[in-house]
Every structure is written in C-alpha cells, then in structure tokens.
C-alpha cells in the first residue's frame, strides 16, 4: 500500500448525497480477478452513455477535473455493498482523498486498506470545500494527515479526526496482516482457550 502523508491537488465536487458503491463501480466490473485497471470505469454509468460516449456534464469528464485527486462529496458516501472495487477504482483513477460529512462503514474501512484517506468534516466545512472545488483548476486543496488538517485555497484550515492506528498504517504504508501476524501467539492462546470454552465453534 502507498503511504499517505500530504496531498495538494484539484478536488472534484460531487454534492449528491448517498453516492453508493454501485454508482462508484457498477457490478459488471466486479468480474475482474485483479485490483487494478478499474479507474476507466469509475462512476461508469454517470460518466458514459450506454454506447460508451463520455457525458460532458459529468464532473470527472470536465477538463478541470480529469486529473482530480480529491473528491468532495455529499453525505453518506460509499453506502451499499462491501466491494473493495470501489476504492480500487477511485485509486486507479488517481483519487487519494474523499471528503464528506459521513461515510458508510465498510467503504470507510476499505479506503484505509488502499492508501485512500476518507476525511469526515462538519457540514459547513464540507460546504466551504465544495465551493472551493467548484473553482476547478483555480483552487488547490491541501490535505495533511500528520497534522490532520484540510486547507482550502483561501487558506482556511479545517481539522479532522482520524483513528490513531489507521493513521499510523496510512502514514507508513503498513500491511496490517504483517502487524497482526506479530501477535500470532495471542491468537494461538485464544484458540487454545476457545477449544475448551466453546468447543462447538
């Protein structure tokens, strides 16, 4: 997993609430057995017509946002299925940070496993950044994980909360399976105890 430290980039505004994982990556693209290559199909049904033509109005098709690295989105982003293809598609497109007032639980966790930082901010802050994002290339937003801040193009800075363990893994690009395997002896003793307490399990 790539580290996430600081990021300064263009943010694409997506004010729609309840953007679900079926919108982020429709089911026909879940048939892959790889993690890569999904960026071209990110938001596929909002981004392309049935015959594959780009829909010019869609934000990521507009010249200013074709290289966006940040999304500023409406409430409850990533609701729906557990498909990790959603963060894979975002990452493959080049999105490393999503800012919203709230995220669905599984999507939120999946982001951290893939070097994407989901930032939760209050509504007024998200609105400020949404307005900033609407300026396209004229606005750059900076996200700093170490200091837990997002800075708008006018210098306004917003602080956000992040789980310390998730922050540590993201800052250092750590593989958490490796970290857990360091606790193998604790798992061994749990299993030994469990074999007596709950032998049916």
């Amino acid at each position: 997993m790539d580290k996430f430290t600081t990021l300064t980039g263009i943010a694409a505004p997506m004010p729609l609430v309840n953007i679900d994982t079926d919108m982020i990556i429709p089911k026909q693209f879940l048939k892959t057995i790889k993690r890569t290559g999904l960026g071209v199909n990110l938001f596929d049904e909002m981004r392309y017509t049935q015959d594959g033509q780009e829909i010019p109005d869609f934000v990521l098709n507009q010249p200013a946002y074709r290289k966006a690295q940040i999304l500023v989105a409406g409430d409850n982003f990533g609701c729906g299925s557990s498909r990790e293809h959603a963060p894979w598609a975002l990452l493959d497109f080049g999105i490393r940070c999503v800012i919203s007032t709230s995220f669905a639980d599984i999507f939120f966790n999946n982001c951290f496993k893939n070097g994407i930082l989901p930032v939760v901010l209050p509504e007024a802050a998200v609105q400020h950044l949404m307005d900033d994002a609407r300026k396209g290339e004229n606005a750059r937003i900076t996200v700093d994980l170490e200091s837990q801040t997002v800075t708008a193009s006018d210098g306004t800075t917003f602080s956000f909360e992040v789980d310390p363990f998730k922050k540590h893994c993201l800052l250092n690009g750590l593989d958490d399976i490796g970290l857990t395997l360091e606790k193998a002896s604790a798992i061994d003793s749990f299993e030994a105890k469990n074999a007596t307490l709950r032998p049916w399990a």
């Binding site: 049904e45 609701c79 990790e84 709230s102 669905a104 798992i187 469990n194 307490l197």
Partner: protein, 474 residues
Amino acid sequence: MSAPRTLYDKIWDDHVVHTSDDGTCLLYIDRHLVHEVTSPQAFEGLRMTGRKVRAPEKTIAVPDHNVPTTAGRDKKIDNEESRIQVEALDRNAKEFGINYYPVSDIRQGIVHIIGPEQGWTLPGMTIVCGDSHTATHGAFGALAHGIGTSEVEHVLATQTLIQKKSKNMKVEITGSLRPGVTAKDITLSVIGATGTAGGTGYVIEYCGQAIRELSMEGRMTVCNMAIEGGARAGLIAPDEKTFDYVKGRPHAPKGAKWEAALAYWKTLFTDEGAHFDKVVTIRGEDIAPVVTWGTSPEDVLPITAEVPDPASFTGGKVGAAQRSLDYMGLTPGMKLTDIKIDAVFIGSCTNGRIEDLRAAAAILKGKKLAPGVRGMVVPGSGLVRLQAEEEGLAQIFTDAGFEWRLAGCSMCLGMNPDQLAPGERCAATSNRNFEGRMGRGGRTHLMSPVMAAAAAITGHLTDVREIMDAAQHA
C-alpha cells in the same frame, strides 16, 4: 458484580484476542464465508506472500453472485469473466483446503442462505464475509458483518479482524404485526424511519414482541437489511425458535457439545439495565405493507401513499429525491398503486428462503401473471428449490407463468444474465433499489414476497391486503 451488558457487548468480549492502548482490538472470527466475486484478489495476496489459510475448517466457500440460474451452468458458464471467477474459486478452495459447495452441489446457494441451512451459523459466533448482507446471520444472535477484500485476506491469513467496537443501538418493534405485514415491512420501515445512515457506527439489536413472533426466516430478513440502514451489524437474541432451527443441521454441534453450546447460548441476551447509545421504537401495529419509490432503501412509504414531492425534503435529499424520481420515471402526487410494472423478482438473500416462497405462492395460487409482466423466482439455495418443488410451490409459480430458476444471487445485483432492460420496472423482494442495480436503467421497487406476488397478479404496485380480502370473500 459486572456491569450489565448488551448482547453485542457479550459476543464482543468473548472474541477479543488482543486490545491495544488506543482501544483497537483484534477480534477472533469463528466463521468466514467466501464467494467468487470478492475473494480472488485475497487468495492471490496469500499466494504472493506465501501465507496459508489459518483455519480452513472455519472457512466456507460457495459461488453465488455471478452464476447463471439456468440449466447447464455446471457444465459451462458462457460469460468468460464469470467463468474465470468461478473457476478461480474452485481452484482456491481446493488449493487452500476450505469447505466448498460447487455449483454442481445441491447444497449450493446464496452464501447467506446456506450458512444457516448447513448449520455453520450458530448463536454467539463472529461471522464475516466479503459481502455487506452478512448481517443476515445476526438473526441467530451472532455478530456478523461484511468486510472488504483486504479484510478477507486478513481473516484468511489470521482468523482475526482489526476492529474498533461500535456503539449499541436498540430497535424495538412492540406489539404484533397486522395481516399482510411481514418481516420485510419491518426492516424497510425501520430504514425509512432512521435513514440509510441512521445506523452508521452502531450495531443494532432488534427486539420486542413483533421480532419474537417472527420465524427464523423472518428474523434473517430483518437483520439482512441492517446494512441498508448503515449499521455494521444487526442481531437478535437467540431463543427456543433459534435452537430448534439449528438443532440437527449438518454442522451444528451434537451430543455433549450440543448441551454445552445450548447452556452458553442461553446466556446470550441483553442484561437488564444495559446501556444503549440510541433507541428506536416502532409499534408493530403501525407498520403497513410498504414499497420503495426511489433509488435509496430509505425511500420507503406505505403502499397506500403517493409519490412524494422532492420539495417536501430538506438539505441534500431535495436534489437526491428529484434525481430518484427522474430515474424512476415517476411524478409527485401519483398514487403508488398506479405504478405499472414490467417484471417481478422473487429471491435474494433477503427473501429467497422457503417461507418467502410459501408466502408468495399462497397469494399466487390459481392466479396468473398480469399480461406483459415477466416473473422470475430464484430460490436461495438448491435445497430450498428442492423443498419448494416437493411442497408444490414450484408448480404454483410455473402455473402462474413465472420462470423457476436455479439458486443464486441473480437479478438482485444483476452480475449474471438475469437483468432488467433500461427503463424496465421491477417489483423485487431484494434489498437495493440503487440506480442500475438490477441492470443499467432498470427501476427497482423493493417490497415483501406477498407484495411482489400481489403486483405480479395485477401488473401494478398493489396492496396485498386487498387481494387477501378478495380471497376471503370469494
């Protein structure tokens, strides 16, 4: 004496392997369910790092998401990408030595249906799967939730998950349900009341008389859609119905182990005075047969209502509701019962169990699909299908003009050939009405099996109570 605990607290406490200073826990996982769509990258990850599956005997795999539901699929799956995924699961199950129900096995079916059916799902367990509807297993008083593929790999390698504890939420349904109202109406009504993010950060315990009165199948329907309300998991304390359901299943404990398990399971309830961070109470008598009108599972209304005006909402929901109505091709103020349908889908991990098929068949018996309406019944497992055939339900469906399919997720997520065409409108017993969910441009109205059956007969969304009344007076 220790502080009173919720059911969730108890299951959590019994599975903590390690707690870090910041409160991050390593949680032991009792059962890991695996399907073909969210697992190939996880197995590949194991291969690349030379890791093994830590507890293959606790890992159960089945292809369900993209398998066709038509005959001959055990010989050949036409869609190449689907075939590759199913073949990958075949290979991974064999290579890593995990329990496996291939497509040719009569026990194959939707992962959340066969887990309970085969007795893998037991009270008090932690159960995960790379699928958001894993919450289904919470009906047994298990802590069950969906995970992403990276976490699938983590569980395969370590049999644990890194977790922070969620908050406790209680959803109480008091009293009894009225005739024509089902578990599906409960779960949709709760989401309608709390919103799709109302449960975010919580594990929900469903309780109250109406929940107690539900069968295990009904309880699975309720818990199945906890995720649609944003909750990590939904669960229901086990009782005699639970134990009766579990007893004798192939992987349920037997003999002395059964007795020991039963004694433990009987401790799985929320203690008097335990703290809930959020409480929602709904009177069972107030719940009507409901349908969804929009493209979010929170867009729920009683069948007697009218399509809402987007202006009646606030904040971001105004725009979202307008977008939903445009997508759904509906205008504010039209009666929900005037919405004509093109298709009916009965199945899914929400409503693909034998009781669901019985309920739908009871409405459809001796009736026909309305002209021009396509109907499809997809049993949740091969064994449900077999039982439905033995009970004569399959005959009722086929006499009514429905297609009688093989088990799988099918049209619920439209990964296999079972899809809606653009603009087609479906009365569905599944769990998501998202844009494009059942096929690009397809329009989904979620409802119970009896409501779907009623719509099948009339060709438009219908209050099943009218059909029940007519049958009574006939």
